[in-house]
Amino acid sequence: MSIKTDILVIGAGPAGSSAAKHAALNDAKVLMIDKKSEIGSPKRCAEGVSKEGLKALGIEPHCKWIAKELTGVKFISPNGTSVWLNEERVKLPEAGYILERKIFDKHMAMNAARAGVEIMVKTIATGLKRSEEGLIITAECMDQSFEINAKIVIAADGPESRVGRWAGLKTTLKPKNMESCAQFEMAGVEMEDSNSIEFYFGSVAPGGYAWIFPKGDDIANVGLGIITTQTDKTAYEHLLEFVSNCPSTQNAQPVELNIGGDPVGGMLKKLVTDNLVLVGDSASQVSPLTGGGIISAMKAGVFAGEVTAAAIKEGNYSQKRLKEYQDKCEEEMVKTFNKELKVKNYLLSLSDEELDSIAKAFKNTEFEKINTKEIIKVLIKVSPKALLKLGKIF
Protein backbone atom coordinates (compact mmCIF):
# COMPACT_ATOMS: atom_id res chain seq x y z
CA MET A 1 0.00 0.00 0.00
CA SER A 2 1.19 3.50 -0.79
CA ILE A 3 -0.47 6.81 0.10
CA LYS A 4 0.15 10.17 -1.55
CA THR A 5 -0.46 13.48 0.17
CA ASP A 6 0.72 17.06 0.00
CA ILE A 7 1.43 17.32 3.73
CA LEU A 8 1.90 14.58 6.29
CA VAL A 9 1.56 15.60 9.94
CA ILE A 10 3.11 13.13 12.38
CA GLY A 11 1.60 13.44 15.85
CA ALA A 12 -1.92 14.60 16.72
CA GLY A 13 -1.28 16.67 19.82
CA PRO A 14 -2.23 20.37 19.92
CA ALA A 15 0.71 21.32 17.64
CA GLY A 16 -0.04 18.65 15.05
CA SER A 17 -3.80 19.22 14.95
CA SER A 18 -3.32 22.97 14.72
CA ALA A 19 -0.80 22.60 11.87
CA ALA A 20 -2.97 20.06 10.04
CA LYS A 21 -6.11 22.17 10.34
CA HIS A 22 -4.46 25.35 9.07
CA ALA A 23 -2.75 23.56 6.20
CA ALA A 24 -6.10 22.06 5.16
CA LEU A 25 -7.87 25.41 5.51
CA ASN A 26 -5.30 26.75 3.05
CA ASP A 27 -6.22 24.11 0.46
CA ALA A 28 -3.50 21.51 1.03
CA LYS A 29 -4.25 17.79 1.03
CA VAL A 30 -3.32 16.75 4.56
CA LEU A 31 -2.92 13.40 6.30
CA MET A 32 -2.30 13.32 10.07
CA ILE A 33 -1.13 10.13 11.80
CA ASP A 34 -0.79 9.35 15.51
CA LYS A 35 0.79 6.30 17.09
CA LYS A 36 -1.76 6.19 19.90
CA SER A 37 -5.09 4.43 19.73
CA GLU A 38 -6.76 7.40 21.47
CA ILE A 39 -5.70 10.96 20.68
CA GLY A 40 -4.96 12.92 23.86
CA SER A 41 -4.51 9.92 26.10
CA PRO A 42 -2.57 9.39 28.26
CA LYS A 43 -1.96 13.03 29.10
CA ARG A 44 1.59 14.13 29.88
CA CYS A 45 0.83 17.57 31.08
CA ALA A 46 -0.36 19.75 33.97
CA GLU A 47 -3.04 21.10 31.59
CA GLY A 48 -2.72 24.83 32.25
CA VAL A 49 -3.25 27.45 29.52
CA SER A 50 -3.63 31.21 29.55
CA LYS A 51 -6.91 32.83 28.56
CA GLU A 52 -4.91 35.30 26.51
CA GLY A 53 -3.27 32.44 24.60
CA LEU A 54 -6.55 30.76 23.65
CA LYS A 55 -7.98 34.12 22.65
CA ALA A 56 -4.98 34.87 20.42
CA LEU A 57 -5.57 31.54 18.68
CA GLY A 58 -9.25 32.37 18.17
CA ILE A 59 -10.34 29.35 20.21
CA GLU A 60 -13.57 29.80 22.15
CA PRO A 61 -13.40 28.07 25.56
CA HIS A 62 -15.79 25.13 25.70
CA CYS A 63 -17.26 23.66 28.89
CA LYS A 64 -16.46 20.13 27.61
CA TRP A 65 -12.70 20.68 27.88
CA ILE A 66 -12.34 23.43 30.49
CA ALA A 67 -11.95 21.77 33.89
CA LYS A 68 -11.41 24.98 35.87
CA GLU A 69 -11.24 28.70 35.38
CA LEU A 70 -8.43 30.27 37.40
CA THR A 71 -8.47 33.55 39.27
CA GLY A 72 -5.28 33.40 41.29
CA VAL A 73 -1.77 32.07 41.65
CA LYS A 74 0.09 31.15 44.81
CA PHE A 75 3.87 30.83 45.16
CA ILE A 76 5.05 28.75 48.10
CA SER A 77 8.61 28.84 49.40
CA PRO A 78 10.33 25.82 50.98
CA ASN A 79 9.29 26.72 54.55
CA GLY A 80 5.65 27.14 53.48
CA THR A 81 5.56 30.93 53.23
CA SER A 82 3.14 31.79 50.47
CA VAL A 83 2.72 34.78 48.22
CA TRP A 84 -0.78 34.76 46.87
CA LEU A 85 -1.78 36.84 43.90
CA ASN A 86 -5.50 36.87 43.40
CA GLU A 87 -8.02 39.31 42.06
CA GLU A 88 -8.46 40.90 45.48
CA ARG A 89 -4.77 41.80 45.74
CA VAL A 90 -3.75 42.51 42.18
CA LYS A 91 -5.33 42.82 38.78
CA LEU A 92 -4.22 39.64 37.02
CA PRO A 93 -4.11 40.25 33.31
CA GLU A 94 -6.34 37.42 32.04
CA ALA A 95 -5.50 34.42 34.24
CA GLY A 96 -6.10 31.02 32.71
CA TYR A 97 -7.79 27.67 32.55
CA ILE A 98 -7.01 24.10 33.50
CA LEU A 99 -7.96 21.92 30.57
CA GLU A 100 -9.18 18.36 30.32
CA ARG A 101 -6.49 17.44 27.81
CA LYS A 102 -7.99 14.08 26.88
CA ILE A 103 -11.03 15.92 25.57
CA PHE A 104 -9.24 19.05 24.36
CA ASP A 105 -6.78 17.16 22.14
CA LYS A 106 -9.57 15.12 20.58
CA HIS A 107 -11.64 18.27 20.09
CA MET A 108 -8.71 19.89 18.24
CA ALA A 109 -8.21 16.79 16.09
CA MET A 110 -11.95 16.77 15.30
CA ASN A 111 -11.71 20.40 14.19
CA ALA A 112 -8.81 19.41 11.94
CA ALA A 113 -10.94 16.59 10.50
CA ARG A 114 -13.79 19.05 9.86
CA ALA A 115 -11.32 21.26 7.99
CA GLY A 116 -10.63 18.35 5.64
CA VAL A 117 -7.72 16.55 7.29
CA GLU A 118 -7.57 12.78 6.91
CA ILE A 119 -6.60 11.11 10.21
CA MET A 120 -5.13 7.70 10.95
CA VAL A 121 -4.78 6.57 14.57
CA LYS A 122 -2.64 3.72 15.88
CA THR A 123 -0.29 4.53 13.03
CA ILE A 124 3.42 4.95 13.70
CA ALA A 125 6.12 6.37 11.43
CA THR A 126 9.06 3.96 11.32
CA GLY A 127 11.45 5.56 8.86
CA LEU A 128 12.08 8.32 6.34
CA LYS A 129 13.84 8.55 3.02
CA ARG A 130 14.06 11.21 0.38
CA SER A 131 12.63 10.92 -3.11
CA GLU A 132 12.60 13.25 -6.10
CA GLU A 133 9.14 14.46 -5.18
CA GLY A 134 9.63 14.87 -1.44
CA LEU A 135 9.79 12.42 1.44
CA ILE A 136 8.74 8.81 1.77
CA ILE A 137 7.68 7.89 5.30
CA THR A 138 7.41 4.21 6.13
CA ALA A 139 4.57 3.57 8.56
CA GLU A 140 2.71 0.82 10.34
CA CYS A 141 -0.94 0.59 11.32
CA MET A 142 -1.99 -2.59 13.10
CA ASP A 143 -0.56 -5.40 10.91
CA GLN A 144 -0.13 -3.23 7.80
CA SER A 145 3.19 -1.71 6.69
CA PHE A 146 3.03 0.95 4.01
CA GLU A 147 4.64 4.07 2.56
CA ILE A 148 3.38 7.63 2.64
CA ASN A 149 4.68 9.93 -0.09
CA ALA A 150 4.52 13.51 1.12
CA LYS A 151 5.79 16.74 -0.37
CA ILE A 152 6.21 18.16 3.13
CA VAL A 153 6.27 16.49 6.55
CA ILE A 154 5.30 18.37 9.70
CA ALA A 155 6.95 16.56 12.62
CA ALA A 156 4.82 17.02 15.73
CA ASP A 157 5.95 13.82 17.39
CA GLY A 158 6.81 15.21 20.80
CA PRO A 159 10.03 15.55 22.77
CA GLU A 160 11.10 12.06 21.73
CA SER A 161 10.91 13.12 18.06
CA ARG A 162 12.81 10.84 15.75
CA VAL A 163 11.29 12.17 12.54
CA GLY A 164 13.36 15.35 12.67
CA ARG A 165 16.50 13.33 13.34
CA TRP A 166 15.82 11.10 10.36
CA ALA A 167 15.76 14.25 8.23
CA GLY A 168 19.06 15.46 9.70
CA LEU A 169 17.81 17.97 12.30
CA LYS A 170 19.35 17.96 15.76
CA THR A 171 16.41 17.29 18.05
CA THR A 172 18.23 15.22 20.68
CA LEU A 173 18.01 16.92 24.06
CA LYS A 174 20.63 17.02 26.78
CA PRO A 175 19.31 15.81 30.15
CA LYS A 176 19.85 19.32 31.58
CA ASN A 177 17.34 20.62 29.01
CA MET A 178 14.73 17.94 29.66
CA GLU A 179 12.55 18.35 32.71
CA SER A 180 11.59 14.92 34.03
CA CYS A 181 7.99 15.15 35.23
CA ALA A 182 5.66 13.04 37.35
CA GLN A 183 2.12 13.92 38.30
CA PHE A 184 -0.88 12.44 40.07
CA GLU A 185 -4.40 13.53 39.35
CA MET A 186 -5.83 13.38 42.88
CA ALA A 187 -9.17 13.57 44.64
CA GLY A 188 -9.50 14.88 48.19
CA VAL A 189 -6.98 17.71 47.73
CA GLU A 190 -7.54 20.39 50.35
CA MET A 191 -6.94 23.73 48.67
CA GLU A 192 -7.38 27.11 50.31
CA ASP A 193 -8.80 28.35 47.03
CA SER A 194 -9.69 25.86 44.35
CA ASN A 195 -9.50 28.61 41.72
CA SER A 196 -5.80 29.30 42.30
CA ILE A 197 -2.84 27.36 40.97
CA GLU A 198 0.01 26.70 43.40
CA PHE A 199 3.75 26.58 42.67
CA TYR A 200 6.22 25.14 45.17
CA PHE A 201 9.87 26.11 44.81
CA GLY A 202 13.17 24.90 46.21
CA SER A 203 14.69 21.51 46.96
CA VAL A 204 11.25 19.89 46.77
CA ALA A 205 11.89 19.72 43.01
CA PRO A 206 15.59 20.15 42.12
CA GLY A 207 15.93 22.09 38.86
CA GLY A 208 12.19 22.69 38.59
CA TYR A 209 9.14 23.18 40.77
CA ALA A 210 6.15 21.33 42.12
CA TRP A 211 2.57 22.31 41.34
CA ILE A 212 -1.03 21.88 42.37
CA PHE A 213 -3.36 22.75 39.50
CA PRO A 214 -7.03 22.52 40.50
CA LYS A 215 -9.47 20.68 38.27
CA GLY A 216 -12.42 20.67 40.66
CA ASP A 217 -13.29 21.65 44.24
CA ASP A 218 -11.12 18.84 45.64
CA ILE A 219 -9.57 17.49 42.43
CA ALA A 220 -6.15 18.61 41.21
CA ASN A 221 -3.13 17.72 39.15
CA VAL A 222 -0.36 17.39 41.75
CA GLY A 223 3.01 17.08 40.12
CA LEU A 224 6.57 18.21 39.73
CA GLY A 225 9.40 18.50 37.26
CA ILE A 226 13.07 17.94 38.05
CA ILE A 227 16.36 18.06 36.19
CA THR A 228 17.82 14.59 36.61
CA THR A 229 21.42 15.83 36.66
CA GLN A 230 20.61 17.70 39.90
CA THR A 231 19.28 14.81 41.97
CA ASP A 232 19.80 11.12 42.57
CA LYS A 233 16.10 10.44 42.88
CA THR A 234 13.59 9.95 40.10
CA ALA A 235 10.75 12.38 39.44
CA TYR A 236 8.33 9.78 40.79
CA GLU A 237 10.27 9.45 44.07
CA HIS A 238 10.26 13.23 44.48
CA LEU A 239 6.52 13.23 43.78
CA LEU A 240 5.85 10.64 46.48
CA GLU A 241 7.82 12.75 48.96
CA PHE A 242 5.98 15.90 47.96
CA VAL A 243 2.56 14.31 48.30
CA SER A 244 3.50 12.83 51.63
CA ASN A 245 4.71 16.19 53.03
CA CYS A 246 2.40 18.74 51.41
CA PRO A 247 -0.42 19.82 53.78
CA SER A 248 -2.93 19.97 50.89
CA THR A 249 -2.52 16.31 49.92
CA GLN A 250 -2.62 14.61 53.33
CA ASN A 251 -6.07 13.18 52.66
CA ALA A 252 -5.82 12.98 48.89
CA GLN A 253 -5.81 9.83 46.76
CA PRO A 254 -4.47 9.41 43.24
CA VAL A 255 -6.76 8.44 40.40
CA GLU A 256 -4.17 8.76 37.66
CA LEU A 257 -0.37 8.83 37.24
CA ASN A 258 1.24 10.78 34.43
CA ILE A 259 4.92 10.96 33.54
CA GLY A 260 6.97 12.45 30.76
CA GLY A 261 9.74 14.75 29.64
CA ASP A 262 9.34 18.46 29.07
CA PRO A 263 11.88 20.18 26.79
CA VAL A 264 12.71 23.35 28.73
CA GLY A 265 16.03 24.44 27.19
CA GLY A 266 14.50 26.96 24.78
CA MET A 267 13.46 26.57 21.15
CA LEU A 268 15.76 24.54 18.90
CA LYS A 269 18.08 26.56 16.67
CA LYS A 270 16.99 24.88 13.45
CA LEU A 271 13.35 23.96 12.83
CA VAL A 272 13.31 23.38 9.10
CA THR A 273 15.08 21.45 6.42
CA ASP A 274 14.09 20.59 2.85
CA ASN A 275 10.54 19.15 2.91
CA LEU A 276 10.23 19.10 6.71
CA VAL A 277 9.37 21.34 9.65
CA LEU A 278 9.31 20.66 13.40
CA VAL A 279 6.49 21.92 15.63
CA GLY A 280 5.57 21.78 19.31
CA ASP A 281 7.59 19.76 21.80
CA SER A 282 9.67 18.26 18.99
CA ALA A 283 10.94 21.80 18.39
CA SER A 284 11.20 22.55 22.14
CA GLN A 285 8.57 25.28 21.78
CA VAL A 286 8.01 25.24 25.51
CA SER A 287 8.30 28.01 28.09
CA PRO A 288 11.67 27.38 29.78
CA LEU A 289 10.29 28.93 32.98
CA THR A 290 6.92 27.25 33.41
CA GLY A 291 7.29 24.24 31.13
CA GLY A 292 3.97 25.20 29.55
CA GLY A 293 3.80 24.57 25.84
CA ILE A 294 0.22 24.13 24.66
CA ILE A 295 -0.33 27.68 23.42
CA SER A 296 3.13 28.11 21.88
CA ALA A 297 2.78 24.72 20.17
CA MET A 298 -0.58 25.70 18.69
CA LYS A 299 0.68 29.08 17.54
CA ALA A 300 3.60 27.33 15.86
CA GLY A 301 1.08 24.91 14.37
CA VAL A 302 -0.81 27.79 12.78
CA PHE A 303 2.43 29.16 11.28
CA ALA A 304 3.50 25.71 10.09
CA GLY A 305 0.11 25.00 8.48
CA GLU A 306 -0.03 28.34 6.68
CA VAL A 307 3.59 28.34 5.48
CA THR A 308 3.60 24.73 4.29
CA ALA A 309 0.27 25.14 2.48
CA ALA A 310 1.64 28.23 0.73
CA ALA A 311 4.79 26.28 -0.18
CA ILE A 312 2.62 23.53 -1.68
CA LYS A 313 0.78 26.08 -3.84
CA GLU A 314 4.12 27.49 -5.03
CA GLY A 315 5.62 24.03 -5.60
CA ASN A 316 8.65 25.01 -3.53
CA TYR A 317 9.36 22.80 -0.51
CA SER A 318 12.96 23.86 0.02
CA GLN A 319 14.50 24.76 3.35
CA LYS A 320 14.83 28.32 2.07
CA ARG A 321 11.06 28.54 1.43
CA LEU A 322 10.12 26.86 4.70
CA LYS A 323 12.43 29.16 6.67
CA GLU A 324 9.52 31.61 6.80
CA TYR A 325 8.01 29.29 9.42
CA GLN A 326 11.15 29.43 11.55
CA ASP A 327 11.32 33.23 11.24
CA LYS A 328 7.71 33.53 12.46
CA CYS A 329 8.37 31.24 15.43
CA GLU A 330 11.50 33.17 16.36
CA GLU A 331 9.65 36.46 16.23
CA GLU A 332 6.80 35.06 18.34
CA MET A 333 8.76 33.10 20.95
CA VAL A 334 12.52 33.49 21.17
CA LYS A 335 12.71 36.87 22.92
CA THR A 336 10.26 35.72 25.61
CA PHE A 337 11.93 32.33 26.02
CA ASN A 338 15.34 34.00 26.46
CA LYS A 339 13.97 36.24 29.22
CA GLU A 340 12.34 33.25 30.87
CA LEU A 341 15.60 31.30 30.78
CA LYS A 342 17.25 34.13 32.72
CA VAL A 343 14.49 34.18 35.32
CA LYS A 344 14.64 30.40 35.63
CA ASN A 345 18.42 30.40 36.09
CA TYR A 346 17.99 33.09 38.73
CA LEU A 347 15.36 31.13 40.64
CA LEU A 348 17.35 27.90 40.43
CA SER A 349 20.47 29.60 41.78
CA LEU A 350 18.69 30.50 45.04
CA SER A 351 18.94 28.35 48.14
CA ASP A 352 15.86 27.31 50.09
CA GLU A 353 16.70 30.01 52.68
CA GLU A 354 16.96 32.70 50.00
CA LEU A 355 13.62 31.64 48.51
CA ASP A 356 12.09 31.84 51.99
CA SER A 357 13.48 35.38 52.42
CA ILE A 358 11.99 36.50 49.11
CA ALA A 359 8.60 34.98 49.97
CA LYS A 360 8.68 36.66 53.39
CA ALA A 361 9.56 40.04 51.83
CA PHE A 362 6.71 39.85 49.32
CA LYS A 363 4.12 38.09 51.48
CA ASN A 364 2.17 41.21 52.36
CA THR A 365 3.23 43.41 49.49
CA GLU A 366 0.58 45.46 47.78
CA PHE A 367 1.42 44.45 44.25
CA GLU A 368 -0.75 47.17 42.73
CA LYS A 369 1.57 49.76 44.27
CA ILE A 370 5.01 48.13 44.02
CA ASN A 371 7.30 49.13 41.15
CA THR A 372 10.29 47.43 39.52
CA LYS A 373 12.77 49.48 41.58
CA GLU A 374 11.26 48.22 44.83
CA ILE A 375 11.27 44.61 43.60
CA ILE A 376 14.97 44.91 42.75
CA LYS A 377 15.68 46.41 46.19
CA VAL A 378 14.20 43.32 47.83
CA LEU A 379 16.05 40.92 45.53
CA ILE A 380 19.39 42.70 46.12
CA LYS A 381 18.94 42.23 49.86
CA VAL A 382 18.37 38.50 49.37
CA SER A 383 21.26 37.74 47.01
CA PRO A 384 23.06 40.42 44.97
CA LYS A 385 25.16 37.77 43.22
CA ALA A 386 22.16 35.80 42.07
CA LEU A 387 20.44 38.96 40.88
CA LEU A 388 23.21 39.48 38.31
CA LYS A 389 21.82 36.46 36.48
CA LEU A 390 18.69 38.39 35.71
CA GLY A 391 20.87 40.77 33.68
CA LYS A 392 18.88 43.25 31.67
CA ILE A 393 15.53 41.61 32.13
CA PHE A 394 14.03 44.56 34.01
Binding site: K36, R162, T234
Partner: protein, 55 residues
Protein backbone atom coordinates in the same frame (compact mmCIF):
# COMPACT_ATOMS: atom_id res chain seq x y z
CA UNK B 1 18.48 -2.85 27.82
CA UNK B 2 15.72 -4.25 29.97
CA UNK B 3 12.38 -2.55 30.45
CA UNK B 4 10.45 -3.06 33.65
CA UNK B 5 6.76 -3.85 33.46
CA UNK B 6 5.85 -0.46 34.93
CA UNK B 7 7.31 1.52 31.98
CA UNK B 8 4.67 4.03 30.83
CA UNK B 9 6.18 4.64 27.37
CA UNK B 10 6.45 8.38 27.97
CA UNK B 11 9.44 8.61 25.61
CA UNK B 12 11.73 10.69 27.79
CA UNK B 13 14.47 8.10 27.25
CA UNK B 14 14.13 8.43 23.48
CA UNK B 15 14.26 12.23 23.68
CA UNK B 16 17.73 12.21 25.27
CA UNK B 17 19.28 9.19 23.51
CA UNK B 18 22.29 10.79 21.77
CA UNK B 19 22.23 8.14 19.04
CA UNK B 20 18.45 8.06 18.53
CA UNK B 21 18.29 4.34 19.17
CA UNK B 22 14.99 4.10 21.03
CA UNK B 23 11.66 3.74 19.28
CA UNK B 24 8.64 4.43 21.49
CA UNK B 25 5.48 2.65 20.52
CA UNK B 26 2.14 2.84 22.31
CA UNK B 27 2.93 -0.05 24.62
CA UNK B 28 6.53 -1.04 23.96
CA UNK B 29 10.04 0.33 23.58
CA UNK B 30 12.33 -0.96 20.87
CA UNK B 31 16.08 -0.51 21.45
CA UNK B 32 18.70 -0.77 18.74
CA UNK B 33 21.15 -2.55 21.03
CA UNK B 34 23.79 -3.00 18.33
CA UNK B 35 24.51 0.72 18.12
CA UNK B 36 24.27 1.42 21.87
CA UNK B 37 27.44 2.86 23.44
CA UNK B 38 26.23 2.21 26.96
CA UNK B 39 26.06 5.91 28.00
CA UNK B 40 23.02 5.07 30.16
CA UNK B 41 21.49 8.54 29.83
CA UNK B 42 18.16 6.85 29.12
CA UNK B 43 18.34 5.05 32.47
CA UNK B 44 19.25 8.28 34.26
CA UNK B 45 16.31 10.33 33.00
CA UNK B 46 13.50 7.78 33.34
CA UNK B 47 10.92 9.31 35.72
CA UNK B 48 9.98 5.89 37.16
CA UNK B 49 13.25 3.93 36.94
CA UNK B 50 11.76 1.55 34.40
CA UNK B 51 15.00 0.87 32.52
CA UNK B 52 18.01 -1.15 33.58
CA UNK B 53 21.01 -2.76 32.02
CA UNK B 54 21.59 -6.43 32.67
CA UNK B 55 25.23 -6.71 33.80
Amino acid sequence: MKVNEWCMYCGECAGVCPRSLIEVRETCLIFNENECKDCRICIQVCPVQALYKEE
